[in-house]
């Protein structure tokens, strides 16, 4: 158990969703264990956010890789030091030092720089769109809660 509010099973499931978001497949057993261990040993990961909205971003992100990306895009802009971002960055650190995922994360796709630069522009626009979508989702959920 890492934390009373975060049982191991929850952390493992979170790790699976976030790894699928970051690299497109499930984590191996070593990464899964390291992610849980990180939560046991580094209190910064379990420390809840002060703002309820930031905690909701984490709940949204746990619901699947696409939502994780939208919540992450939103958190990067509006809650850059939130628990969600801390957890995602920690997972990225774990994945980048493990031989099985290191190359996937940091190997250039090749191709032309012009196409790359064009894709960067599109990515920025898409990230903005995702951030907005996440905000809308959170707002609707809040309305739903009130209704």
């Amino acid at each position: 158990m890492a934390d009373a509010s975060e049982p191991t099973a929850l952390l493992e499931e979170e790790c699976r969703v976030f790894t699928r978001y970051l690299v497109g497949h499930d984590p191996d057993a070593g990464a899964l264990a390291a992610y849980v261990r990180a939560h046991e040993r580094d209190a910064r990961l379990s420390h809840p956010d002060a703002r309820a909205r930031d905690e909701k971003l984490l709940l949204l992100a746990r619901r699947g890789p696409r939502r994780a990306r939208a919540a992450d895009a939103c958190a990067r802009i509006f809650a850059p030091t939130s628990r969600l971002r801390r957890k995602l960055v920690c997972l990225l650190a774990v994945l980048e030092v493990r031989g099985s995922t290191a190359l996937e994360l940091d190997t250039a796709d090749g191709g032309s720089s012009a196409v790359f630069l064009a894709r960067c522009v599109l990515l920025c626009a898409a990230a903005g769109g995702r951030a907005l979508a996440a905000l809308l989702l959170l707002s609707f959920e809040r309305l739903g809660e009130r209704g």
Partner: protein, 527 residues
């Protein structure tokens, strides 16, 4: 003839070696935290990730302290877990600071256990405020170069980096540095018209086997402590000294103060790790504990002796400004994994007053932990990863160093509970100097085909460069709180300062090569 030396960093190492060679008996007292043993010494950075049983623990630490999590702090050092001993806090050494972010080390080898190995001699012009000139320092630069092994060459930077002898061939240039350098060579005249010159870095890293150490085999692990010792650290000198007759290394000793008979030091008082105090009778005492710690030992001793400690003024450090760049020709290319990690090129800016020239270190990004960089991009991590991996081979950093002078407002003094109080105020013209240097550097980077992303220039806080100097300057003018040209204190006749404390001026250059050469020079004159 016996000498007690406090400290086991770069300054102490070369003081001790020269003194021993002169026939002195040398006793070194040091806190002496030690490095962990090297793991898989022949594996490259990439291979470690697959070969180690637990790469997560090696790279990120047992408590994940190597993970750089998003936070509001603007300055992060990101040292790997196996360097924890270098910066571990020492509770007996307390600091309070204003306008300065001091770093201190209590490791065997000192701060240079974590250095990047840039070794840059001062020029004659940069020594004008010193009571000694190039001719007196040059032979010691050469001796140190032969001891530690320095790769580099006399090139376009010859005026800025004078030839002291003893250089090895430069290291192989990594692909990115090589492409920058060849662009510079093609446009050399235009760069010179801008007052900008580029040349090969001087690095305390072996390009050929030397003194029982192998040439750099490009493992890309420099930041994680070179496992083959191709990259020099003073720890190596102490390992060598410990086997020699006449040399005694006493680790686990924190020196608090010395006692005097009024004019001479007679005793050194240290506390051991088990809390016990011990004293050492002293014939000659050499403070080489780093500028800040030497000052504390000195001030505490004077306070005990005279009831009141003076204030030391003139603290200097190089302001550093980090300018990231993207070499547009290298986008979408594979990055080079097996290469020397640190800077390989130097770009200087000339000034009317040669003491005010600017020194820029060009580091191209190769092996690194990527999560600190990826998280800083203003995108979700997935998008940021896409951008980063396709830009990795194109990324670089220019580390701009500015000179500093001794000024009365920059002080060290003891606080009421024995803490060292550091106060620093930057010079009034600093913003103008930084602005002018950055404008010229940005032009130079554009001439190299690089894009300079707006808003990403980072001014490091004072103290971050860890080039501390100037608090007990050497001068030919006899007055208290100074030393003679040979580092001998004017306050106590058998006390010497052999670290940065005595520097009268700090050019825009990494100072450690001069720390080592000057310490060796002082040891050559101690009597």
């Amino acid at each position: 003839m016996r000498l007690h030396v406090v400290g086991a960093g770069a300054s102490a190492a070369h003081f001790a070696l020269t003194a021993l060679e002169r026939g002195f008996e040398v006793v070194v007292l040091d806190v002496g935290r030690t490095r962990p043993p090297a793991v898989s010494p022949t594996a490259s950075f990439g291979e470690l990730k697959s070969e180690l049983d637990d790469p997560v623990e090696y790279f990120l630490g047992e408590h994940f302290e190597g993970v750089v999590l998003p936070s509001d702090e603007t300055e992060y050092y990101g040292f790997p877990p196996n360097k924890a001993h270098v910066f571990a806090a020492e509770e007996r050494f307390r600091l309070a600071s204003e306008g300065f972010e001091p770093l201190a080390s209590f490791a065997k080898g000192g701060l240079a256990e974590a250095w990047t190995g840039g070794v840059y001699p001062f020029t004659e012009a940069e020594l004008v405020d010193w009571p000694i000139g190039w001719d007196e320092l040059r032979p010691h630069y050469e001796d140190v170069a032969r001891r530690i092994g320095i790769s580099g060459r006399a090139d376009d930077l010859a005026e800025h980096l004078p030839d002291h002898g003893g250089l090895m061939e430069p290291l192989r240039l990594d692909d990115h540095s090589s492409s920058l350098f060849s662009t510079y060579e093609k446009k050399r005249e235009r760069f010179h018209a801008l007052g900008c010159r580029m040349g090969r870095a001087r690095s305390a890293t072996l390009s050929a086997d030397h003194a029982g150490r192998p040439a750099c085999s490009e493992l890309g692990r420099c930041l994680w402590t070179c496992p083959t010792n191709s990259l020099y650290t003073p720890w190596l000198t102490f390992e060598e000294l410990e086997g020699r007759e006449g040399f005694t290394y006493l680790p686990g000793r924190y020196v608090d103060h010395f006692e005097t008979d009024g004019g001479r030091v007679v005793r050194l008082v240290a506390s051991r790790d088990d809390g016990e105090q011990e004293t050492h009778d002293v014939e000659r005492l050499v403070l080489a504990a780093g500028t800040l710690s030497s000052a504390r030992v000195f001030l505490e001793s004077v306070r005990r002796e005279r009831g009141e400690a003076p204030r030391l003024s003139g603290l200097m450090d190089n302001r550093q400004v980090l300018q990231p760049f993207v070499n547009l020709r290298r986008l979408c290319r594979p990055w080079e994994a097996d290469a020397f990690q640190y800077h390989q090129l130097v770009m200087t800016l000339a000034a009317d007053d040669p003491r005010a020239s600017v020194h820029g270190l060009v580091t191209t990004l190769k092996t690194a932990l990527i999560h600190p960089i990826v998280q800083s991009l203003p995108l979700d991590l997935k998008s940021a990863l896409f951008v980063f991996k396709n830009a990795h081979a194109a990324l670089g950093l220019l580390n701009v160093n500015l000179h500093d002078t001794r000024r009365a407002e920059n002080t060290l003094e003891l606080g009421p509970s024995g803490e060292l109080r550091v106060r620093y105020v930057p010079p009034a013209d600093e913003p103008t100097r930084i602005g002018a240097a950055l404008r010229r550097y940005r032009r130079a980077l554009r001439m190299l085909g690089c894009f300079v992303p707006p808003g990403m220039t980072h001014m490091r806080p004072m103290g971050a460069s860890v080039h501390y100097a100037g608090t007990v300057p050497m001068t030919d003018e006899a007055r208290p709180l100074t030393t003679t040209r040979d580092g001998r204190s004017r306050d106590f006749e058998n006390l010497w300062f052999a670290d940065g404390s005595t520097f009268p001026f700090l050019p825009a250059k990494n100072l450690t090569f001069t720390l080592m050469a000057n310490a060796s020079r002082i040891a050559a004159t101690v009597s």
